[in-house]
Amino acid sequence: MTNNQKNQEVAPNFFRDFVVGGFKLMGRSRMMSIGFVLVLSMTILALLAPFISPYDPLEINPMRRLQSPSREHIMGTDEVGRDVFSRVLWGARISLLTGALVVVFSNIFGIIIGLVSGYYDKVDKVIMRLMDGLMAFPIMLLAIAMMAALGARLSNVIIALSIVFAPRVARVVRGVVLTVRESAYVEAAIVVGAPSWKIIFIHILPNCLDPIIVQSSFMFAQAVLAEAALSFLGAGIPPWLPSWGNIMTGGRLYISVAPWMTIYPGIAIIICVLGLNLFGDGLRDLADPRLRGVI
């Protein structure tokens, strides 16, 4: 069985399942449903943050700084007396928003680049050299350099991470395009003179969706981690904003006096990223076991 046929078979069924009966699908994999529940609960907490957080995450009160967890502050307070629990809740918003937007933008860039590059031989070489160049930077290094150039803003973190991840999407999409393009029906469509955009959207794009969706959940997870690492290295979003990375980075200075500043946001990240990874693993197994190890 060739790769191409396999994709043909799996894609439609998989998506019908996914859209029509997501929960039925979950039943097939316990790990995947755990992942889904974790991600879902984080999302709900993030959405409800304005209503359930006991304090304003930006409210400063140095008189109550570095207090250990208590009934008033269940995760303690930080070095300027902000409530860590409220910041972790709001942090879910910022971290999830960052992850989601990075997924959206890197997919948009990556798909366009991958389609163009895979479909048009002439530009392929040039584009792929550029992508190779971008991918020759370790992820963190490119992100840091870009943040240094762009400046510390949430939008810049999203842009930087999208640019970092886009070539990885492009590479996968291009791979699929190259395989699909050789298939009999695409060749037939070309022969009968169907316009390129039609071939791309009707025949090629649907075949890319599997790997893209699977990859997206991992990219989401990596983006959340990357945001935290950027903050840690001092190249993230402005430090007063409550992202998980920022809360932890602030806590590093006080690790032995106020470990709660570091531990709780860390646990929040683990829950969220573990959920995404479990979910992604499940998706991958369902979509195409052959993708194992490739993405």
């Binding site: 971008l134 930077f137 350099a145 935290a228 840690f232 932890m248």
Partner: protein, 314 residues
């Protein structure tokens, strides 16, 4: 195959050129002034301007870029603003730390990953399987610096088994050397074990279902030797490929880990050089890391191609 290889090696050159240019432009776009950093907190503005001119930072960017490329072409990475040595020397000074850290982390990742993978495959579809894969997945699901800080908290501040930071040369005693790199390697190894575990598990599963394993079992060979000498030996090939693919992420991880544990490696060098706008050093290290990165990827691709001729593009 030969043609493919030749082409791949040829394409390294434009890739590195692109890396160099992108890196150069990004760093020059960044605000910040090495002259002012060098002069310190209390320097006045006239002094800063004078030193900028002396360092040649007031020339237009294309002039600086051109000069830099001219030097690179001669294999000269330039002289660091801050380190009182050439960039090449600065990288060589720190290579040992990063290479050893990466190597030790790799060993830990392989031991962890392969063990977890084998156990999970043998106990396929049991709670043990899921627990093992859960542990591996936990590793990739936490920020490495968070894990590192917690290791410091537990094993350096708490138990005092290991130093909290810093590096000891092999020359100063092997025991102290290993001790100084234990926590960093564990951190980096643990977060890199998951893909190896996953790959080991799935290829072990494939092998375990094959006839000759059943035959071996039927012959009454004990389970342990079946798993190790028959099954794992055959499941190893994809695992090795995966190990190769992990090198790239290890280099990325080393940047963060070296910062957490204050190790004088290449990763920390580049972070600090970005921090003080040591342009020649940042450029040099970027090129160097990219070169290693691309080289490793090429080797992995060759390995992959060699082991599995079906795969061409992914």
């Amino acid at each position: 195959m030969k043609k493919y290889l030749f082409n791949r090696i040829l394409t390294l050159i434009p890739t590195l050129l692109i890396v160099a240019t992108i890196g150069y432009l990004l760093i020059y776009m960044a605000p910040g002034d090495p002259a002012a950093v060098m002069l310190g907190e209390e320097a006045d503005v006239t002094e800063v301007i004078r030193l900028r001119t002396e360092m040649g930072l007031d020339r237009p960017i294309y002039v600086q870029l051109g000069r830099w490329f001219a030097r690179i072409a001669r294999g000269d990475l330039g002289y660091s603003f801050f380190l009182q040595r050439t960039v090449t020397q600065a990288i060589l000074d720190r290579l040992e730390v990063t290479m050893l850290l990466t190597a030790y982390s790799m060993i830990i990742a392989i031991i962890l990953g392969v063990t977890i993978g084998i156990i999970a495959a043998v106990k396929h579809n049991t709670i043990v399987d899921q627990l093992m894969m859960g542990i591996a997945l936990l590793g990739v699901s936490m920020p490495s610096f968070w894990l590192g800080i917690n290791f410091i908290l537990l094993f350096a501040l708490g138990a005092r088994w290991f130093p909290a930071a810093g590096y000891v040369d092999i020359a100063d005693g092997l025991f102290m050397h290993i001790r100084s790199l234990t926590l960093p390697s564990l951190t980096l190894g643990f977060i890199s074990a998951a893909p190896i575990a996953r790959m080991t598990r799935s290829s072990m599963l494939q092998v375990l279902n094959q006839d000759y394993i059943r035959t071996a079992r039927a012959k009454g060979l004990i389970e342990f030797s079946v798993i190790i000498s028959h099954a794992f030996r055959n499941a190893m090939i994809p695992t090795i490929t995966m190990v190769g693919m992990t090198v790239g992420s290890l280099i990325s991880g080393a940047i963060v880990t070296e910062t957490v544990f204050a190790l004088p490696g290449v990763g920390r060098l580049v972070i600090q050089s970005i921090g003080r706008r040591d342009y020649p050093t940042v450029q040099g290290v970027l090129i160097f890391i990219a070169f290693i990165y691309v080289l490793v990827n090429l080797l992995v691709d060759i390995l992959y191609l060699y082991l599995d001729p079906r795969v061409k593009y992914l």
